[in-house]
């Protein structure tokens, strides 16, 4: 764990340098703990770090680091809350890029769908837009790069894939991810870092 001063009122706390479930657990645990630290303006957890914005009339650049370290050591014993399990029905017949993903990985479309639904994914970060949860890790058998030219409009509810990550578009947006299917799921505010997401194939 180490700190980096980012701005006059923000410090970045790093828990590792590479994306892994172990680092995610550290981020999730520390994020849960830091919610009870006072005089904090905003917390932005991500894959390996938490951005902490604080009140400069209460902490200075040194005391914020001491207070965070002390707070985390005091709350370390709190058992890590198991992330929720969220099941999401997906209509893979709407997968505009299933053929692209299949071709890229020398698989059939059915095999791509089987691979995508064969495991659960964890929420590593939320951002890009409200409710956009970055889910990982996509099995290497179906990892596929982003489209060379992003689409001007990816419809809300699109289930998509980019390399090691998969996600659901919470609203219409431009985007370059490979679209695998569509879901009517609409509870995007419920995603929290650490949750487990499972995609369910509904057209059998």
């Amino acid at each position: 764990m180490h700190f980096k001063t980012v701005s006059y009122d923000s410090v970045m706390l790093y828990f590792g340098s590479v994306i892994s479930e172990e680092v995610l657990d550290l981020v999730q645990s520390a994020y849960t703990s830091l919610k009870s630290l006072t005089h904090i303006i905003d917390l932005t957890p991500s894959y390996t770090s938490i951005l902490i914005q604080y009140d400069i009339f209460y902490y200075d650049v040194f005391s914020i680091q001491e207070s965070i370290t002390l707070h985390l050591s005091k709350t370390k014993k709190i058992a890590l809350k198991q992330g929720k399990e969220i099941c999401i029905d997906v209509d893979y017949s709407k997968g505009l890029d299933l053929q692209r993903v299949a071709d890229f990985n020398h698989l059939s479309i059915e095999e791509v769908i089987q691979n995508h639904t064969a495991q659960s994914y964890r929420v590593y970060a939320i951002g890009f837009m409200v409710g956009f949860a970055y889910l990982a890790k996509v099995p290497s058998s179906i990892q596929t790069p982003r489209l060379e030219t992003p689409r001007a409009k990816v419809p809300k509810g699109s289930v998509a894939l980019a390399q090691t990550q998969t996600a659901i578009y919470p609203q219409d947006s431009a985007g370059g991810w490979n679209i695998l299917g569509h879901t009517d799921f609409d509870d995007f505010d419920s995603f929290e870092i650490g949750d487990r997401v499972r995609f369910i194939n509904v057209n059998l």
Binding site: V6, S7, M12, D42, S46, T48, L51, A125, G127, M129
Partner: protein, 292 residues
Amino acid sequence: MLIFEVLTPGALTSVQDLGRYGYAHLGVSQTGAMDEYAYRWTQKLLGNTEGNALEILLSGLKLKVLNPCTIAVCGADLGFCINGQKTNIWCTHHIHKGDILSFEKNVSGLRAYLAVKGGFSLEKIQGSYAYSAKENKGLKVEKGTLLTYTESQTRDLRRVQKVHIPLYSKVLSLNILLAPNASSDILENSYTLSPNISAMGYKLQGKPLTSSKGGIVSEGIAFGSVQVPPDGQPIILLKERQSIGGYENVGTVLAKDCFALAQAPIGATVTFKAIEIEEAQEEMKDFYNFFD
């Protein structure tokens, strides 16, 4: 009670406040007034607490006054007129039913703030009035929009002392807190503000900086963060920035310099000078203490 009917909305007129805090973990953008200096002056002049203001981007806005009120206008000189008469800004005015308020001409700066005593009556969303285009939150005015308020006018009039009124320059020197281990090349170059400037961020043009081609592991983005995408042209991320991102960060522009930047036009010249964290905190404490 009704206060204004919008006759013409101008380029982009929206209600802003100091922004939306405590929801970054959901991907919510902080947003808020781009030039907090001018915004805070409108609130100080009117004695508003937890208020709001119209953020007026460039000239074109025309309002019909439906009830008497005290207003304050600060920020860019967009040719503010009451009933067609050019009128001072950085001060309060008593306005009357039937008056026409208009912003006729772009003289200097980009964003003016118009606040009413007591603030406009609106629902807060996630603790804030701030308009966000990309999140479809808050209010952007259209032709015919009716704005409401609760309080009546004050008796006194107030104005900002001349020494506190900024001159909006086309040459800016921004204080930057360099990231540890980041190259200091940015201090050596001179940049031009590209046409690609929005509430999300201002893209600069100049000698390209070297950037790590693959980017970094995505992480939270602070206000004023200077990011370097693969093309090497830095972007200063501002109020409506995304909550997390994966471009390399070379430093962060001091917040009050970002407020000045919000008034700078396309083509302005931008250079950077390094500041240390202790000095940055002192400067911002002075800034906030001034308005308290």
